[in-house]
Symmetry: D2
Subunit: 439 residues, 4 copies
């Protein structure tokens, strides 16, 4: 159980400056937008989940709310902000970069914004990647293109080297846009900053195409990504329906979490089976995939299977291989299922037209859709407010439509995943009408 | 302040049947998905908003959670469900119709589903609109097309005639997809049902392109709609930038609520001014629109104004006219501003290339995007669960990512609108850098 | 060289009926739209290609023009038309089916239109596929969905069985939408019809995702398909640019013809190398792909390779396998190149981030874009006019913006392909700046 | 009748340099792509249109073919090329700018490319618009955004001032992307260049959203534009079908030519009436619009009217007003028809739900689709080849799938329009089934 203390966000110190909010309005100030200290959001809001019913509500676990503070820690006229994007691509990276830059320039009057190239590598001088100045001009229109203008890479750098570089450039706050690995890296940088007694803030904006970061609700770019994946399901459905005994097999991203598979399948209501890492299944037996597929094809003439890449790994021999980040290489479940289905139909002398679809990286290299763009802009604004206020070792997130601050340790301690007994998976079961228990 | 009693949802009676959930899985049942009575969601989850701190949390206002119940009121083998779509179009109507039909057939085994044509008119025999059977076949693929296969219309019908019709056809539950007017109509039908002592449930699925229904969070189709509107803003920006002193003026829907204007403006970060009904503004004076526009065009060479149709009505003479539903006809604020801007530039001898954009109905006649499709499917599933459980006089909604039941009286008592002191409007101010106070 | 005789289109006999064109206009007729016999289109229109300069122009090879005839062969009030779609999917199939149906009903008053299911299999009673009536209602809106409502399959059926079936159902004209194999099948049916002395017309509408049918200009659905493929190239470019030494490898369709690769590469000007079956290349050597890729990555930091599936087959061992249609299975050139590139960078100790993209069937299962929809509608109208006029053993096509009739034997005698010395390939070379000679 | 002499393209003089084509291939040259003098394309290729049957084919009117020449006029190492975009926006302008720049840099090694800002105004120093350098870097990715990075404006400038400016900057060739007015302006500049005996080439790339420039086939951006317009027709159809007696009225661009109306209507086969400037119609009478609309609504329950803005001007009083370019202001035919339809239904006591759609500028501010992008790239390549070869006073175009050179005087002497007795209009009549003669 998450405690109130766990949810406490760190600050570099007491606010020392008045916020320039609304300084662009001649002769007028407003304070109605400032966040106050008791604007906290309960960790749980469902009666059956609230465990501290006896205690006063002030002691219940709650998140700090994001937004502008009346008093801020850094002096905007001298402040220097760094921005870095790490890990795999995700729709919306350029929206975030643009909105961070515009918020700093337009709203706070911060005019020293530096982008580091190719992830944490750009913070290590050995890689020879010169940082770039981010200005309203240089970020104009970048949101219309996928990817990140800063480039990206996987993997960490020596925190001592990174902090040396931050100090050398006079960076006051570093905004890290990245996944759980990158947030772990950010936390290590915070520790090094602490060790040296520096006042450099580190603010994370969580990025994950798999939507598997905990506490923050849906991650930016996720809905753009699953909308792209849904197109492959539609295509698979069209192909399957056009053939006699047509089967479409669609493999989507999702190493540990089946969110893309679930949402893309729900989007067009055309999937007959959804297979995700969180829910085991067998191929054989009365409730196994093969028998269920046979029935579905017999009834409807065709069927579509949506498969997360990390599903059914227990059915495969371990690969024993790992990638550069130390992640275990996944076994090829798609080929395994494909062969099994083909063999099964062949053994029964049934015709089969199986078409395989893999949208792959195509779902993450596109620009963010309108909703994700709004979300990116607002996350970026929240991150800038947090940075100006002197917060550190935290990420911003939108949890149940509230923008909140979450300590980094909380988001890297575990992965978010589809609850097999939750309402999302139930919706998938209702939509597909696949057997509840295929294990 | 909303009380716990206000949030109580009505039921037709005690559940009398076991839910057939998972009956499609031979020899197996599961109950982990069933909603229990203490799965209630707090009305407020922000400490500063919770007014009943002294009271036990069980007495705080909270919503009933949506989802399947272990025991249900109606017998699925005999149940007859009616579906009707009312009011203006909205992306996702066909998704909802399809998902309601599939949920009833596939999950509960209800095979009597009747669609009424052209709104409440279809429930009045005088209009001669024969109802249509909704089956898995007849709803296949309809989600790929905008509009509603059932047709729609505005306006109410005599509740006595409607209830006569429901009785005549043996309808056990009526699912009404419509806006606040239609929900008022649904409530009137409930009253007539009550008066006669009948057991007919009425479940609403709120539909509003303007996102102005309270308590339920974002309404379905809204994000598809504002994404379409955002395209006009992008076009206006492109046109304005291509000309010397180019000004783009984009008029979007929003009679009372500026949500479409705000979200579409945030989506591409290209709007310079957003004008909504909730925030008054003047044209003249130091902080008036004309002077601010002058400055922006002088600084950037061009500017884009996004205008909700209901904005600035106090600047216009009253039209005195009302439409068929009794809504007052709005004055033409777009033409008013256009003339004023043209006169202002002419008076100063400045060149001006003003282009006007009005996406109009185009934003509501498109199919739902992937996220809205998922949302529609899940709302429909929730509505069906509520209908089967014997609930009535309520709507389903997703509030802070939870599917909840809300009594109809609560959603028709007032309109939801953009809070001028809230974080959405602040994000707009940050994005546009328009003067905070133009009034 | 194609002769005038080769271009002669066959007719079932003299026209016997007046066309009902414009019969829907009370009391009014028009003949200005009728095609006359001297509306022929020259086979060649470039001076350097015209080989018969001495002869009168009337003797030069020329195509019969498509369009309505004043006098037609069949009696619309009794005529029965069959429609069948064969082979792989292609954007626009449903547009064609719809437009054929509407043209017959609305324009000629033909109300007996029958669709055969799943390709030629639907014409063989052994497959038990009941034909379906095509009516304006049943085809409403089908153009908004990919695939074919009739279903499709590969392979031929015994022509005697097919003609028996046509006779049994009283089909007067069969419209076959399919590729070169299907057109060969259509020709065989014509021969069987001839042998029996029947008056059944067979009209083809050529369908090929690869754009490889000769004489007819661009085939329907092709531009929709390459637009989809171009999205993968954009994604590959975004991925490649976001990484250090990023290489995107995109495999697109194109067994024998590189049109999809060429057009999709030209569409966004982001490809660095295009490899097609028509132009041989080597991996090694000064102008080989590996060295050229090395230079490009060194210069630009990243590169994108677009690869038609049938390219470079001479570099691979023969597979020796054939598919159901007797086509040889292609070797896996993508994996071959991928391995070679990875080995090459590894051998030189250079970092490499290679991402592979394969849009696959996704490019052919989408609905037609607006231009292809127009094209499909007009091809379908032309095919109906030809059928009504009693033409047979021919296909319709648009050649240099003229709708023409082409005898089937001409379109199945060879494949169309990218001319290595033509202006399309030159445009690709200009766009990519890849070495002209990589062989 | 166009004569051979009319089709002759002017040159600045004899070619003096060898083309650097393929210079990027070490040690290798190719000449198979070079265009030779007898690569001419016949003006007419339809037998019934060829008027000179007695004459040798060499004397028939024919176009010069576009493409690279083996010998060129300008020295690429010193050459300086100017680029300007004029008139209204059109999808693909940025594709053209990008491809011109890349072709010059990559292929010819020309590194002095200058863009003039905001149309011809940028060539008049009085407007204070500094020209910008166009480089591969500055044009990267611009094709993904609508509009023109150079800006644009309407209207001409004093040719003496323009030529002074060209001389001052040392421009050798000016590439003008614009409509018929801009091509007239280009011709006037040529005349001034001639008068001074200078060797400055002027090459046009015709741009017209209305597709109304003669001789060149479909203009770039046109298909992107009508695809956008088609979306409004789809929306109108959806709205009309969802209502009782629903009528959708869609107004699209087209002052003198109805191409957008025709093609967008054909694209989804959903329009019931298409009204264009070229074909007169009446509202009243047996075959008038009102009676025909009445019948259609009675039969189908709804109807959609697609209206080009310049249609039916004879039904309206003359406006007497002209715009800055001297074009007469069009009367508001949409409002006229709308009122007439509303009055007609009201007079008959019939319910009516009329929804008006005007996609407006939205159709021209979008990025080019994939096919238009390919077309733009190839037009730009052709224009650069012509400029290098020393051609002048000409435009490039694609006519019947051949890239050709057309003298400017030919393209400004008249407008292209929809032939009321041609096959395009016939296709529209077939698709809509509207009365052939509504006049």
């Amino acid at each position: 159980m998450t405690s109130l203390a766990d949810l406490q966000v760190r600050s570099l110190g007491q606010p020392r400056h008045e916020s320039p909010l609304s300084s662009y309005v001649a002769g007028r100030k407003t304070n109605e937008y400032y966040v106050s200290e008791d604007d906290r959001v309960l960790y749980d809001d469902t009666l059956s989940l609230i465990e501290r019913r006896g205690e006063p509500v002030e002691r219940w676990p709650s998140f700090e709310t994001g937004g502008p503070r009346e008093h801020i820690f850094f002096d905007p006229t001298t402040m220097h902000v760094g921005v870095v994007t790490c890990g795999g691509l995700c729709p919306g990276l350029n929206d975030v970069i643009r909105a961070v830059t515009l918020e700093l320039y337009t709203h706070y009057g911060v005019e020293r914004v530096t982008g580091f190239r190719n992830g944490y590598a750009g913070l290590n001088p050995d890689h020879g990647l010169a940082p770039v100045a981010l200005t309203p001009d240089s970020v104009a229109g970048i949101n219309e293109r996928g990817g990140t203008i800063l480039g990206t890479s996987r993997g960490a750098q020596d925190p001592a080297v990174v902090v040396d570089r931050l100090v050398e450039l006079g960076i006051d706050a570093l905004i890290v846009i990245g996944g759980d690995g990158s947030m772990h890296g950010a936390h290590v940088i915070v520790n090094e900053v602490d060790r040296r007694g520096l006042s450099i803030g580190v603010i994370g904006i969580p990025k994950t195409i798999d939507n598997d970061i905990p506490h923050i609700g849906q991650s930016f770019g996720f809905q753009t990504a699953f909308a792209e994946a849904a197109k492959s399901i539609t295509a698979a459905h069209v192909e399957a329906q056009s053939a006699h005994n047509g089967v479409g097999l669609v493999k989507v991203m999702g190493r540990h979490a089946g969110f893309i598979a679930c949402y893309s399948a729900l989007a067009n209501h055309d999937a007959d089976f959804v297979l995700i890492p969180e829910v085991p299944f067998r191929l054989d037996g009365e409730n196994g995939l093969l028998e269920a597929l046979r029935r579905r094809v017999a009834d409807d003439g065709s069927a579509v299977i949506v498969l997360a890449e990390g599903a059914g790994q227990d059915l495969l021999p371990e690969t024993g291989r790992t990638d550069a980040s130390g992640n275990q290489r996944l076994g090829d479940i798609a080929s395994y299922i494909r062969s099994a289905v083909e063999s099964d139909f062949a053994a029964r002398g049934e015709e089969l037209t199986l078409k395989f679809f893999e949208p792959g990286y195509g779902i993450r290299a596109v620009p963010a859709d309108a909703s994700d763009s709004v979300y990116c802009a607002r996350l970026a604004q929240t991150a800038v407010h947090a940075a100006m206020a002197g917060r550190t070792d935290m990420v911003v997130g939108r949890r149940r439509h509230r923008f909140v601050h979450v300590p980094i340790p909380l988001v890297i301690e575990r992965r978010h995943s589809v609850a097999p007994d939750g309402d999302l998976w139930l919706s998938v079961l209702e939509s597909t009408a696949q057997p509840i228990d295929m294990a």
